[in-house]
Symmetry: C2
Subunit: 445 residues, 2 copies
Amino acid sequence: MKNILILGAGLSTNSLINYLLDHASEYGWHITVGDINEKAARRKVNGHPNGAAVIFDINDDMESWRTIAKADVVISMLPAFMHHLVANKCIDLRKPMLTASYATDELKALNEKAVKAGIPILMELGLDPGIDHMSAMKVINRIQNEGGKLTSFYSFTGGLVAPEYDNNPWNYKLTWNPRNVVMAGNGVSKFMRNGRYKYIPYHRLFDRTMTRKILNYGEFEVYTNRDSLKYREVYGLKDIPSMYRGTIRRPGFSKAWNVFVRLGLTEDTYILEDSENMTYRQFVNAFLKYEPQVPVEIKLQEYCRHAADPVVFEKLKWLGIFDDRKVGLKNATPAQILQKLLEEKWKMDPQDKDMIIMQHEFKYTIGNEDKMTVSAMAIKGKNQEETAMAMTVGFPLGIATKLLMLGKIKHKGVILPIHKDIYQPVLAELKTFGISFEEKEYMMG
Amino acid sequence: MKNILILGAGLSTNSLINYLLDHASEYGWHITVGDINEKAARRKVNGHPNGAAVIFDINDDMESWRTIAKADVVISMLPAFMHHLVANKCIDLRKPMLTASYATDELKALNEKAVKAGIPILMELGLDPGIDHMSAMKVINRIQNEGGKLTSFYSFTGGLVAPEYDNNPWNYKLTWNPRNVVMAGNGVSKFMRNGRYKYIPYHRLFDRTMTRKILNYGEFEVYTNRDSLKYREVYGLKDIPSMYRGTIRRPGFSKAWNVFVRLGLTEDTYILEDSENMTYRQFVNAFLKYEPQVPVEIKLQEYCRHAADPVVFEKLKWLGIFDDRKVGLKNATPAQILQKLLEEKWKMDPQDKDMIIMQHEFKYTIGNEDKMTVSAMAIKGKNQEETAMAMTVGFPLGIATKLLMLGKIKHKGVILPIHKDIYQPVLAELKTFGISFEEKEYMMG
């Protein structure tokens, strides 16, 4: 029996744990799920004969050492900032490790040590980062092998509510970490177009969207991700003139969200005075001029002309930002108050299903021709456990773990899934779960 | 002979050093100016029989200890972050200390130690903070002594070029730390009006100005300072319903500056790619949409509607932001590039004189009457050495040092000049230098 250790039993681990348990007897695996909350771990294992649950606390040095020592491979689903603690133990104990998180500079600095220990630390094996890399590299490598030269790469991803359950004016629900949604884009966003670097400050980010039809799912809009430039290096496209990454929402989302950004409701750097006794209406009013004889609704429309658009205003009103209802949060930042409201209003109902949408757009020249390839994927969740997010994060990790256990991944060190011997079998098996990319070729005018 | 040690020989120390040297033989003082650059210190002392220059490096623990040990009082004009190092030595050696800088939490934490050592650490003894506190407390105390109840306190300060030398379309020149001008207001600004807390995010700050006529100097505009709320505690006005502090500029400045804020040119959190080879025109273009067939000037006016105002556009053009001239700064942030340009264009010419303007507006009720008191001050620099900034920072410090040496300040611990026995004699002597407040009383409708 080979021992696989999964650290963390959060919501996004369902598909991963089920995938490994489903293949456990076939490959002779024993799956241990470790979490600081043993009950949560046990619930995930659900009495499977090849499974076990343990308490795992990365801050308990001795005990976490002992748990990792018993494993043949470790998958860390812990919060991202804990990965380097796990990685250091895996290196010392020579245990291969996998995560769905970004290879931060801190992690990358462990590359040499991992190579010396003779183990791979496979990072960015989820959805975004993860499936984005694999599906992009597949097309990039094919174009380059055919002698094509890439001139532009745009890539968009979004987690949304599936259209059948899309029943609010924002066409959006929280299918993922709410804090990340509130803080999205905070900072500067950088991309390249035709060799020109472009920068968008946060307060203009939601002004500058693009629209796209994707597959048969109708229209979407895209806003820019924080740093598109670093992907030039990831994909070996250092000299590509255009590089852009964005987040997908339904049309109209950004224009309404922009009102919150412009007002300052998404700021997280200071605490509001007496937030405890504030109503949502007073919260909004705190960012508007002092004009006690003018209703908050009117002041907002005068302050942000976007808010005067009836489609935008309807969204704002529906959220309850004008309600005389107490927030009830002590020492809260604006972002925390907004998040509390969104968690109520954008909550997924029990029957709701989520959807992941991803689209890559490659422009390239081959011979004298300008061509474009569009590669797109959409997948809906099955239920509240097997969400599209859990599947797209968990299956690539599960499949890579299998490949590793079967000796099919030979890389050592800190590795991304940009290598053909990783992405090809992972993408092939993802298809069997309905995660498949549809490619279209266009000749350009 | 009593020894006075002045640490730091920067531009703002001229009036302070001259004040103390001018009074040195009268009171039997010996003035030592210490700077990391001994030459700079010597230049300030200028061969005065009661003066001496020494090398002073706060990081040279032994030597700085020895220098402070010889003094009877220490005035720190070093960069603000160094004050606590000086303060700790002054406490250990039981030497009174004075500065023109904010009493940070780090400094305030030394209060008990200073009390035990039996010395005062007199902070915030410059212009702003400094003269603002003293001139405000004088009126506040008078109103309260008469039985008045303050309902509103607005206070504005600005450093500008004197009207006679005001010859550029911004009506502004750099009379003070250029970096502070570029970063002004970055973050959130907080104030209170009629019991309502108000917050302005940075990207809206320069939208929301007020205008004022001040003394005989014509019209000014005011934008909000970062944190007006903390002054409630400083002035003992915890329950005042309205509290606002702002910065004074000439009308039209904010609307044009706003274009830079909106574009993102004042951001200092990231480095621009290849900034070294960028022209100012390309710098601006990096924040605008990719539309190579549209000139930067037009794109800017489409992106920021304020920029389309001909008065604003004239200011932008005059600064040279559209010039095809290389920036020549390696690994620069947007704010650093903008600062470089401003340092060229907003430079004070050798004959130019600066001006400081300050206005306080107090509203209060007394009996059944609503009243208002406006207290305003303006002073112009004499020359490039005795600037209005150097005088308004240096004289209060110099006068307070004299009072201390004469035994007229009995306070111990970390002290602000909000006490009558400090502000009254300081304000009285400031008048002899032309720094005087003109007060007007109004009956309110």
